[in-house]
């Protein structure tokens, strides 16, 4: 049986190794970009300019840490609705994302079809997902199966919250992936609340990762607010996947510092002091900044330069998205099928 102690030991093993200084700084800057963009989108929603915001605040360490540990050219990504920071790390631009929140024609994720937060870009192998949580895990397993059959050397990674692990598709995906030893990482961002439902009403076990043993795969727990630990745990899981040793269930313990979406008021179901404590003591962004400062990789001038670059990128993205065209209403009928001349319906 995997005890907590054994798991802690495994976590220690997963956290071994070093990260190049350049990568550490890139992780940090991407985390800052994600946080500021997430905040900007919420401001735009509060100002009545965009209809919805889906914050990632608090999840930056696991999202960016895992993304930048993946072998980029060989990675197939199945994100979830909170993956704002992850998809930035995988190569989407602030403009790509802001276009989606404005639901503009040139939104690369969906062309204004899908609700914002459903990130997709084919050229980056970031694959379209729906709003029904859990479905993306099965797709990731299937994509990894294709990688195995085609001997393509690819690895799939997919993200979900702990609430989504209650879905049947979670079970079906992990079971299939383990049977075939597929190159896929299942990353669970356990922020302890599925909108308002706390962990204790979601599962009777303390850790999502405890379930991994039942499927026959490693279940690794990582401090989801420690960017470095997230990076290293992901890198280890990738090595296993590419060595043919199969999938990993990686559980990142974290906390959502913002409401579920702009439509949610989290003050009703979480103690204010709990939110304040996480913000004050465990926020992954200042925490990683402190680490980099202690290592001499970041100083006041460096921090200011990053803040200025991020601000400029977000201002530019917002202005350009604002000015770009809406979808043409005449295009509502496409693309249903591959060939528009086969509408498949009586119109």
């Amino acid at each position: 049986m995997a005890t907590s102690a054994a798991r802690a030991a495994e976590r220690g093993a997963a956290g071994s190794g070093e990260i190049p200084a350049e990568t550490q700084l890139r992780i940090y800057e991407t985390m800052v970009l994600a946080r500021r963009l997430s905040e900007r989108l919420l401001q735009l929603q509060r100002a009545g300019i965009v209809p919805l915001a889906v914050p990632c605040d608090g999840h930056e360490a696991i999202q960016v840490g895992s993304a930048l540990a993946m072998p980029r050219e060989r990675t197939i990504v199945y994100p979830y609705y909170r993956s704002l920071a992850a998809v930035l790390a995988y190569g989407m631009t602030p403009l790509d994302l802001v276009l989606g929140f404005y639901a503009k024609r040139d939104d690369p994720s969906t062309g204004g079809h899908q609700m914002p937060g459903h990130y997709s870009r084919r050229d980056l192998n970031i694959v379209t997902t729906s709003s029904v949580v859990g479905t993306q895990l099965v797709h990731a397993a299937g994509a990894a199966y294709a990688a195995k059959v085609r001997k393509s050397g690819q690895v799939a990674i997919t993200y979900i919250g702990e609430g989504g692990t209650s879905e049947g598709d979670f079970h079906e995906a992990l079971n299939f992936a383990a049977i075939h030893k597929l190159p896929v990482l299942f990353v669970v961002e356990n922020n302890q609340y599925a909108i308002s439902v706390p962990l204790t009403k979601q599962m009777a076990v303390a850790n999502v990762a405890d379930r991994a043993a039942a499927y026959g795969m490693p279940g690794v727990i990582v401090d989801g607010n420690d960017a470095e630990a997230c990076y290293l745990a992901t890198r280890d899981a990738v090595a296993r996947a590419l060595a043919g040793d199969g999938p990993t269930l990686l559980e990142a313990k974290t906390y959502r510092l913002a409401p579920h979406t702009s439509d949610d008021d989290d003050r009703g179901y979480r103690p204010l002091e709990e939110i304040a404590m996480w913000r004050r003591e465990r926020d992954p962004v200042p925490r990683f900044a402190a680490t980099l400062e202690a290592r001499g990789l970041l100083d006041e001038a460096g921090t200011a330069a990053i803040a200025a670059r991020v601000r400029a990128a977000i201002d530019d993205a917002t202005a350009r998205a604002e000015a770009s065209p809406d979808p043409d209403p005449a295009d509502i009928h496409i693309p249903v099928f591959s060939t528009p001349e086969v509408p498949g319906r009586t119109q």
Partner: protein, 327 residues
């Protein structure tokens, strides 16, 4: 040309496509070692190996979902759902994922999968081995829905479905699997998805059917022909995209239409056909558009007497033809 049953024709279609294109894989329950509970895929695991013919866990959502993911990453999966009655756990993956991937990604991603499932009753299958589920899927934009009624079409339509860049639901009536043999070519051919087939020409009324009901309708047409009623029979073959021009052409010629399906009545595909005829051929009609269908009960019962009561049959179809002809 060899004479084949539908089950053999489906097997041959799968085998030829797997040999033609190494991206084609099969997955489903019992499809590998056993060759499928209806023996559709017998021998294929031996020929193409266990990576391309996958005995999956007993998990329909997983079967369809992994097929979707494999399709996104370069394969052409053919997923088998052992009985159409078991497809509902995969409903979300089919209607919310496969059907919507192209639309929601604004055309960046497609979903080239085929989902095969035996459907229909008359085989003592009871509530969960007899269902007709085609209307559920015909309602979902983004899915193509194909139902062959003979071996030639079964092979040709299946090959077209596998080569189609969109998700195709491919339903095979299990009572027709070994009902009769038909000579079909050995060489490669496809039957395009979309156009229907006029199975019998006639002048007095048009009957629209598919699957097993097509054969019952042909039998009934033979019976009433002796009474001087000339019936045109349309084998729909493809529900989506629907060849409505040919349906309307036939109805405009005969002036009367009867839709026959085994599926239950309310919300069945017959209602859609009746609506199209009413909207677009109203002034050509000499009588009401009628439906002969299974009754609105949850599903087909097991008892022989109850099953018989559920199923439309040649006698009932013949009577419906006489009634409409006399209108």
């Amino acid at each position: 040309m060899p004479a084949k049953t539908i089950v053999e024709a489906v097997h041959d279609g799968l085998r030829e496509e797997m040999a033609r294109d190494e991206r084609v894989i099969l997955l489903g329950e019992d499809v590998g070692f056993k060759g499928g509970v209806f023996k559709v895929s017998v021998g294929l695991m031996d020929e193409f190996g266990p990576e391309r013919v996958v005995d999956t866990p007993l998990a329909e959502s997983g079967i369809v979902g992994t097929a979707i993911g494999a399709a996104i990453n370069g394969l052409l999966p053919v997923a088998e759902i052992q009985f159409a009655d078991f497809i509902h756990p995969a409903m979300d993956q089919i209607m919310n994922e496969a059907a919507k991937i192209r639309y929601r990604s604004n055309g960046d991603f497609g979903c080239p999968i085929v989902i095969r499932a035996p459907f229909g009753g008359g085989i003592h299958g009871a509530l969960y081995h007899s269902q007709s589920v085609e209307a559920l899927f015909a309602h979902i934009p983004g899915l193509k829905v194909v139902i062959p009624s003979n071996p030639y079409d079964a092979k040709g339509l299946l090959k077209a479905a596998i080569r189609d860049p969109d998700p195709v639901m491919f339903f095979e009536h299990k009572r027709t699997y070994r009902l009769f043999r038909q000579e079909i070519p050995d060489e490669d051919y496809t039957v395009p998805i979309g156009p229907l087939r006029i199975a019998r020409e006639g002048d007095d009324l048009t009957v629209i059917a598919y699957g097993l009901m097509l054969h019952y309708a042909l039998e009934a047409a033979e019976t009433v022909a002796k009474e001087g009623i000339s019936v045109e029979i349309v084998d729909l073959r493809t529900l989506v995209p629907l060849d409505k021009e040919t349906i309307l052409g036939s109805v405009k010629k005969t002036g009367k239409a009867l839709v026959v399906h085994e599926d239950t009545r309310t919300g069945g595909f017959g209602g859609e056909i009746a609506a199209i005829i009413a909207e677009e051929a109203f002034e050509f009609l000499d009588g009401p558009v009628r439906r002969l269908t299974g009754p609105d009960v949850p599903a087909m019962p097991f008892s022989k007497a109850l099953e018989h009561e559920f199923m439309p049959n040649p006698e009932r179809i013949a009577q419906a033809m006489r009634d409409l002809a006399a209108y």
